[in-house]
């Protein structure tokens, strides 16, 4: 590289490496600590980062297997963590599919068609997606209460309600997909339409196959956002076996019932898959996030 380098560069590079490594150690401390705690026996145990006597007590409880200690005492799992994880995944998969399907078709219309009120709708969607749903929880609660009186699978305390409610957050995804559609040359579709294809066929057979990458990104983004959604699920879901992970996990750390060790194992068990998915897809996710400018 033709760049002019001052002499002090070598020391500055060294200092940067040391600084960043120290910073990373500090940042990772909580995460490493939780992994370590999940292997300690008991809920109040203290010790070094590498437990001297590793115990699988918390892990067995997190996996839903009653744990028998050396003295023969049997501890039952405090909470159905795997069921919560399953609930979360179920809700996230169904709502991501719905979000993907609905926002793709809308984005197509916004990117390719001309109609009255297009700019207005697009701009208002951007504005409305900034309003946090926490503030309208009273209204959402009343809404689902009313619907639930007549359509039982959409009422309070159902997964249907949480799935449907997540459809309110589609604006961000519509914008992301629309941006991608805009970048695809429309002459291919026009050629197909000249050959006699309907608009729907041009969309289904020409544009969609070209957009698989962005559809993956939106699916993953919607999936992660739904998994992490807390306020709405905390109001809509009541029964312990219906909770999602985000709502259920805090029950480990109540003052009266402080299950620090059990929490650590459950947190690693349920957080690890989500973290790995995120790291694996980070390249695409980052692009999508910076386009939308928000994190859920």
């Amino acid at each position: 590289m033709a760049m002019v380098q001052p002499r002090s560069t070598k020391y500055r590079v060294l200092a940067s490496h040391i600084g960043m490594l120290c910073f990373i150690a500090l940042i990772l401390f909580p995460l490493l600590m939780v992994i370590s705690i999940s292997f300690r026996s008991g809920n109040f145990a203290t010790g070094s980062l590498l437990p001297e006597v590793p115990s699988l007590e918390h892990w067995s409880l997190a996996l839903g297997i009653p744990y028998t200690d050396d003295a023969g005492n049997v501890t039952q799992p405090p909470f159905p963590v795997l069921l919560w994880l399953w609930n979360s995944i179920k809700i996230a998969v169904v709502s991501s599919i719905l979000i993907l399907a609905l926002s793709t078709t809308s984005a197509y219309a916004f990117a390719r068609m001309r109609f009255a009120g297009k700019g207005f709708v697009l701009k208002s969607m951007l504005i409305f997606q900034m309003f946090p749903p926490v503030l309208s929880l009273v209204a959402l609660y009343a809404l689902f209460d009313q619907i639930g009186n007549h359509v039982s699978w959409l009422g309070l305390n159902t997964h249907g309600a949480v799935i449907v409610a997540s459809l309110g957050g589609m604006a961000l995804h519509i914008w992301t997909i629309k941006g991608y559609f805009d970048s695809i040359d429309r002459s291919l579709e026009e050629a197909a339409i000249v050959d006699g294809a309907t608009t729907w066929q041009a969309f289904r057979y020409i544009l969609l196959p070209l957009s698989v990458p962005i559809l993956m990104v939106v699916f993953i983004l919607a999936f992660i956002m739904t998994i992490m959604e807390y306020p709405m699920a905390s109001i809509l879901l009541v029964d312990t076996d219906k909770l999602t992970l985000a709502v259920g996990a805090q029950q480990y750390l109540y003052e009266q019932n402080y299950l620090w060790g059990d929490f650590a194992a459950a947190a690693v068990l349920s957080g690890l898959p989500i973290t790995l998915v995120f790291l694996y897809c980070q390249k695409w996710i980052v692009g999508g996030l910076t386009a939308g400018g928000v994190k859920g």
Partner: protein
């Protein structure tokens, strides 16, 4: 496939027929289901909700039937979803802000009146002593009154009959011995459920172990909706300003009903010192929190992004992955992890601090420390996002600018202040505002980490020193006994205005083209 349809017009015609039949029947089914829901809601007097679904269904039919609305068919589901779950709740919330909707004023006037009219009491004047006989055919009850004696046919005490047992005037006691009081006690719960009906239409129920008394409605309603208490004779007038039945002495009957409160909730926020004090404190802390978070995460993120962009640094992939780890771990898990680590007695952070410096800070009960903790945790959570944003923006700065400045002998600080910062601040500004708005409403962090604790003293609503406006609103609406939805909605409306202004500014700054 396309050529098929062109060369076989008949097949196309048939396919078209099937499709249009399918289309119309699907439409008919959806519409009839929607109409059922609308009528059911209307019958239950949920007019607002009935109206909402009526508008949605009508526009759906209009869009899907009208050929000219073809483009709108594609966007309709998304718009309907946003209307239903974002815009409608928003307007409904603003509406609630102008009412006294709360745990004590939850119902409509009609339902409150029905509720009060359903209340009963046992008459003092119409009372009968009773005895119970166990005969071959079942139990027989014999009532001794002042004017007449009554007797029932044999009945069973085991079954859970809801039907009242009729009693008729009797001249003599039934044959056999009445049950002893201890045997009656055994049947107490069944007797409690038992209702007897007399010839003149009165209902009797057990008043004590030895008495049956007539059941009377507690309230009688007059023409102008006033209620009279049949036991005390006090008259209650409906007060449609307050939403309660009130007597002349100011006695209130609970429950009350929902009435419009005008600007009451807003004036309360300004004038009532037990609300305005905490509100102002929380508002300032919310601003401080959001500004500090943006500044801290930006500084940290920009610094790390600069280091990662520097071509002298090796192992960028490793650093990058490690540095975005806090972003990759689900927030609800890492916040709870911090809640445990900061715990005063068992937390690992206090353990380390005690070993190193011999101190054990009260992270959750001291306001200043609790706020510090929140800022530390939120910086940890938020810097990777800023780092990723800055990395993207730094890449767009032409490299020769730095080369030129190096020729002139400029150091890193000069580079940052004179090249990097001026060039990235413009595209960064809308993202910073979005981040500010997000943190202004960072409900999950507060709800999971401190829950707002420690509490503000002297507040009449649940309010904590670490509460943000959103979590404050949430607690007023859903926590403790208060459930003051009206007040919560009024504060939510204030936040809506702030957020709305921010997003408008954002839209102007980012110059979005549609």
């Amino acid at each position: 496939m396309l050529t098929d349809t062109l060369t076989y017009p008949r097949a196309e015609n048939r396919a078209f027929m099937t499709r249009s039949i399918l289309k119309w029947s699907a439409l008919a089914i959806t519409v009839s289901m929607a109409l059922y829901l609308i009528f059911a809601l209307y019958a239950q007097q949920a007019f607002v909700f009935a109206m909402l679904f009526l508008v949605l269904t009508a526009s759906a039919v209009f869009v899907f039937v009208n050929k000219r609305m073809y483009a709108h068919r594609y966007i309709f589901p998304a718009i309907a979803g946003m209307t239903l779950f974002v815009i409608f709740p928003l307007m409904y919330t603003v509406g609630i802000g102008f009412t006294n909707y709360s745990a004590s004023n939850l119902l409509s006037f009609e339902r409150v009146q029905n509720n009060l009219m359903g209340r009963t009491f046992q008459s003092e004047s119409v009372r009968y002593g009773y005895s119970l006989y166990d005969t071959d055919k079942g139990y027989v009850i014999y009532l001794e009154g002042k004017h007449q004696n009554l007797m029932s046919p044999p009945f069973s005490l085991e079954g859970d009959e809801v039907q009242p047992v009729p009693v008729l005037p009797a001249q003599q006691t039934p044959s056999g011995e009445p049950l002893q009081i201890r045997d009656i006690i055994k049947h107490r719960s069944a007797l409690n459920e038992l209702k007897l009906s007399t010839e003149d239409g009165r209902e009797l129920s057990m008043a004590s172990l030895r008495d049956f008394a007539a059941i009377q409605s507690l309230y009688a309603v007059s023409e102008n909706d006033t209620l009279t208490n049949n036991r005390t004779g006090v008259t209650y007038f409906p007060n449609h300003d307050e939403g309660f039945y009130e007597s002349a002495d100011g006695d209130r009957l609970v429950p009350g009903w929902t009435v419009s409160a005008g600007w009451d909730n807003y004036t309360k926020v300004i004038t009532d010192p037990t609300i305005s004090g905490p509100f102002l404190q929380i508002f300032i802390w919310t601003l401080v929190f959001a500004v500090c978070t943006v500044i801290f995460t930006l500084i940290l993120g920009l610094l790390l992004a600069n280091l990662l962009q520097w071509d002298q640094i090796r192992g960028k992939g490793f650093y990058r992955t490690m540095l975005i780890l806090p972003y990759a771990v689900p927030a609800f898990i890492s916040i709870l992890v911090f809640k445990g680590l900061f715990n005063q007695n068992f937390g690992e952070i206090n353990l380390v601090l005690e070993n190193l410096f011999g101190i054990r800070p009260d992270w959750f009960s001291d306001p200043a420390l609790a706020r510090t903790m929140i800022l530390i945790v939120n910086t940890w959570l938020g810097y990777p996002y800023m780092m990723l944003l800055s990395m993207g923006l730094l890449q767009s700065i032409p490299k020769d600018l730095y080369e030129a400045s190096a020729m002139d002998g400029a150091g890193p600080i000069n580079n940052l202040m004179n090249i990097t910062f001026p060039l990235i601040i413009k595209p960064l500004a809308p993202l910073l505002i979005a981040s500010f708005a997000f943190n202004f409403n960072n409900f999950v962090l507060i709800a999971l980490l401190t829950g707002g604790a420690p509490d503000i003293l002297g507040a009449s609503t649940p309010a904590g020193t670490t509460d943000l406006l959103v979590s404050y609103t949430y607690r007023i609406a859903f926590q403790d006994s208060g459930q003051n939805f009206g007040l919560a909605a009024a504060i939510a409306t204030v936040i809506f205005l702030v957020v709305g202004a921010l997003s408008l500014i954002n839209l102007k700054l980012s110059k979005i083209k549609v």
